[in-house]
Amino acid sequence: MSTALHAADATVPGTEVPRLEARGVTVRFGGLVANKDVDLAVGSQQIVGLVGPNGAGKSTLFAVLSGLLKPTAGRVFMDGDDVTGTSAQKRAARGLARTFQHPELFSSLTVREHLVIAYRMKNAKSRIWTDLVNFRGFANSPKAEDARVDELIDSLQLGAIQHRPAAGLPLGSARLLEIARALAREPRVLLLDEPSSGLDVRETEEVAEVLKSVVRDHGVSLLMVEHDVELVLGMSDAVHVLDFGVKIAGGTPAEVRQDPAVRAAYLGEEIEKPAVQQAESEIEQGELA
């Protein structure tokens, strides 16, 4: 996959103010506490992982961060500004984009049209009204738009299906389309909900490379929910672990790997496997030598 993706405005890494921050976020659904007093921050050009078992409250937290759900308590900040009360639409305008655990695609639109509408919402929003009076619906797309859409389609290898409607796409293609659609908005912060689910090993590695390039070259910040723990620990600058809505650990991947609570409750075998494999490999090499 090509990594030639456009930039959001590049921000200097290590800026004091996080691009996205949750402070004391609590979400209750009746008697059920989905998130309890969760703190989390995503700095500029950072990749932050969010892990936890099913039902840990990860998707709820994503909904709060993206503005689709109002928290019962706590605040959400973007670039230091309190955005708790603002809509998903306004947060999108501030540079937040996201994908979903179950892809939220527009069934009757083709793959290409998904990217076109995302691009226009960022770069030509007034066309929702102006197209109606100047009949641009009958005109060809602007060259800059075509070039950007083509670039994204090439990057995520969607060329073969670019004119197919989204209805009926395989899950893997649907995930890539969601990522491409989010990138078409040239976001500053990108929330990814299980981006590798439905992809094979090779496709997962390629998506990881695309995401790393987006962060490295164009200053995007990533917050990623992912069940592939190795992918998260391998990519992230920081990792947070949720359990029953409570954040039980947070820190660098190395710190999280060593956290006894995390190892015992969630990552035990997942963490141990590579270590065991490495040891076995070393023994084998020693034997061969």
Binding site: S107, W129, H163, G172, R181
Partner: protein, 686 residues
């Protein structure tokens, strides 16, 4: 006061039987039965036939009607229709019941003929006995209504709560798939539910006929009023539905004590009470975010549900995105059909050219459904009311201000637009089912409050509405209407291909996805509502100009259901389908009456209804279906091989093959994620 309350309880009991039946049927089958009024009419008509025309006694007539005819009808309808609908999209379910509501009454009338007297006797012997209750009087019909409600509640609640049959019904509601896995036959249970549902509808119809008349219109008004109680019950709570229905009945009658029903205000407020109740509950639920559509069945049911099925989705997918190319087969077909319509006026005599002009005028109004249902994916049942509004208002502008008719039609349409926008804003957070209920009730209300009141009604002929001076002949008027149709059709194509069209599709299939792209759901829905309302109102003005008068009865919501049935039968997303549907709606009854038999004038209506029923099998509509067949033939004959949008994705497409790694061992993966072949159904959910 007591006499007002008792009389109100009588009306409320009929509302309650209707509302209770709608709730029980919805809860037990997942289908909101918009054909309730048609069923009520059919059973009541059969009862009337036995009792009055065949001379049977009340008891045998009622027994055969309610316990033989009604259950048999319910079981027949389940076998041929309803069993195909569970887990279909809300739009398909609603359209199928709309089709049934259109086809059933004329089918019954074809067999039993129109009743000679719409004031039918009820379940009480004539002359009516009168009873004194706490100093107030009630008649035997009222007493029969109270008893009917009590029997329905006792038997209904008793069966559902305390019997194994009730347990099976409730299990079926939660998950048909799991219920069948436990050894229960969902088919047999549903068969019983529909048999009971038609019996309840029939009981409501028989009880209503003595006071409201044995007509489809009176039954439709009853159903619309009962919707308020159903909305209050959030489609599920039987006690709340019955309670609110009784309260509405009592409120309606008690108000008569304080407000003179013959006064202008009294005449307005009484029919508006159900709508006011509905509005209050809707606002309450909408503000609490509790008014979305309920999802039928459990997770397993959804997983095995038929994918797609929504007419406009299917047609959009069938188009494979090619409909946004400038030159495509659809455009060619459109040019040919419009060309044929343009040639017809010169070839027809005055009678048929007049009908053709009416068909093209109607096609303009039908384009509003193309916008709101086809593009917006919203089931609005009030488009005919906007058309009526356009007709009435433009006639007033011509009559009182001497405006040129075409200018009056366009200005009236602009004036009507805010009404549609307000309805759009009110229903913005609602699911499709609620939107259908609200818009149908709104249509009934406006029909009662405006169209059927003088000076607009004028004994049914309405107000005069002349054609423009340059288009007084049928041929000239057809060309004018066809020109306006083409302009609006081009506007709709422009909308579909524009950024607004992309945004509409986005909002329609995933509001969450759309919001996170920065698309305003409110802006998009207001845009669809406004454009569709304008189009409907222009169509209404043209219908009035063609007839030379507003003819308010032609804008009854019951007729609107037929309009919609015809349109979706032809194709919900095709402009050409709207043109053909308009012409068929006007021409077919005359063709049947003149060339086949005068007794068969209702057969086209039955066919329109049956066409809508067929949506469950062919959601794309006849026009698109025929078009696809022609294109297939063309490809076969000339060896063309355009990409098939429904063909399997090319090899190498991400996710097309099963993942390489052994995900079954990963406890953190969801079942959906493990299934490499999982696809996205039409709703946008994986």
């Amino acid at each position: 006061m007591l006499s007002y309350v008792l009389a109100g309880l009588g009306l409320g009991s009929i509302y309650a039987i209707a509302a209770g039946s709608l709730v029980i049927t919805y809860v037990a089958s997942g289908i909101f039965n918009l054909a309730f009024a048609a069923m009520a009419y059919s059973v009541a008509r059969f009862y009337y036939w036995l009792l009055v025309e065949e001379g049977w006694g009340i008891v045998p007539s009622a027994a055969v009607s309610l316990f033989v005819f009604a259950p048999a009808l319910g079981m027949f309808l389940y076998a041929v229709l309803f069993r195909h609908l569970r887990l279909r999209s809300t739009l398909i379910k609603l359209m199928a019941t709309v089709g049934l509501s259109v086809a059933l009454p004329p089918l019954i009338q074809l067999v039993l003929e129109q009743p000679t007297n719409t004031q039918a006797p009820g379940l009480a012997p004539r002359p009516l006995d009168v009873f004194k209750v706490f100093g107030s009087t009630i008649n035997a019909d009222q007493l029969a209504t109270y008893i009917g409600l009590v029997v329905v509640l006792v038997v209904g609640v008793g069966l559902l709560r305390f019997t194994s049959v009730g347990l099976k019904v409730r299990a079926l509601v939660d998950s048909e798939a799991l219920t069948s896995l436990s050894g229960t036959s969902p088919g047999k249970v549903s068969l019983g539910v529909w048999a009971a549902s038609v019996t309840l509808a029939g009981l409501a119809g028989i009880l209503l006929a003595p006071t409201q008349g044995l007509s489809v219109q009176s039954m439709t008004f009853l159903m619309s009023a009962a919707f308020a109680a159903v909305v209050a019950a959030k489609l599920r709570s039987l006690p709340l539905a019955v309670g609110v229905a009784l309260l509405m009945g009592v409120t309606t009658n008690v108000l008569e004590k304080y407000i003179d029903p013959s006064s202008t205000f009294g005449a307005v407020i009484k029919p508006a009470i159900p709508f006011i109740f509905m509005l209050l509950f809707l606002l309450y639920y909408a503000l609490r975010g509790q008014a979305g559509d309920l999802v039928a069945g459990g997770a397993l049911d959804r997983a095995i549900a038929t994918q797609g099925g929504d007419p406009s989705v299917v047609s959009a997918v069938a188009g494979g995105g090619s409909n946004r190319r400038f030159l495509n087969p659809g455009l060619l077909a459109g040019v040919i059909v419009i060309g044929i319509f343009a040639m017809l006026p010169g070839m027809l005599d005055k009678f048929w050219s007049g009908l053709l002009a009416g068909g093209v005028a109607l096609a303009i109004a039908l384009l509003s459904y193309t916008l709101v249902v086809g593009e917006g994916g919203m089931v609005w049942l009030s488009q005919i009311t906007f058309a009526g509004g356009g007709a009435v208002l433009s006639a007033e502008l011509v009559r009182n201000w001497g405006w040129e008719p075409l200018v009056a039609v366009l200005v009236a349409a602009v004036i009507i637009v805010p009404v549609g926008v307000v309805i759009g804003l009110l229903t913005i957070r609602l699911g499709n089912l609620y939107i259908a209920l609200v818009t149908l009730t709104f249509g009934s209300l406006i029909t009662t409050l405006v169209f059927r009141r003088d000076p607009y009604y004028n004994f049914g002929s309405g107000q005069p509405m002349p054609r423009p001076e340059y288009a007084t002949t049928n041929d000239d008027f057809t060309y004018l209407a066809l020109a306006v149709f083409c302009i609006l059709a081009i506007l709709i194509v422009n909308v579909r291909r524009s950024t607004a069209g992309l945004a509409m599709s986005a909002v329609r299939f995933s509001e969450s996805g759309a919001k996170t792209l920065g698309i305003s759901v409110v802006q998009t829905k207001v845009l669809v509502s406004g454009l569709a309302t304008f189009t409907a109102a222009v169509g209404g003005g043209f219908i009035a100009m063609n007839a030379g008068s507003t003819l308010p009865d032609s804008f009854d919501p019951a007729v609107g259901l037929v309009w919609l049935a015809v349109l979706v039968t032809m194709g919900a997303r095709s402009n050409i389908a709207a043109l053909i549907a308009g012409a068929l709606f006007v021409l077919m009854p005359q063709i049947f009456q003149i060339y086949i038999s005068t007794d068969l004038g209702d057969v086209p209506t039955i066919l329109f209804g049956l066409g809508a029923l067929g949506l469950a099998l062919h959601p794309e509509g006849t026009v698109v279906q025929v078009g696809n067949n022609i294109m297939s033939l063309y490809r076969k004959l000339f060896g063309r091989s355009d990409p098939d949008p429904e063909a399997p994705v090319p090899p190498g497409t991400p996710g097309a093959a099963l993942p390489d790694r052994d995900e079954a061992d990963n406890p953190l993966l969801t079942p959906t994620a493990r299934g490499g072949s999982a696809t996205i159904p039409a709703g946008g959910q994986a």
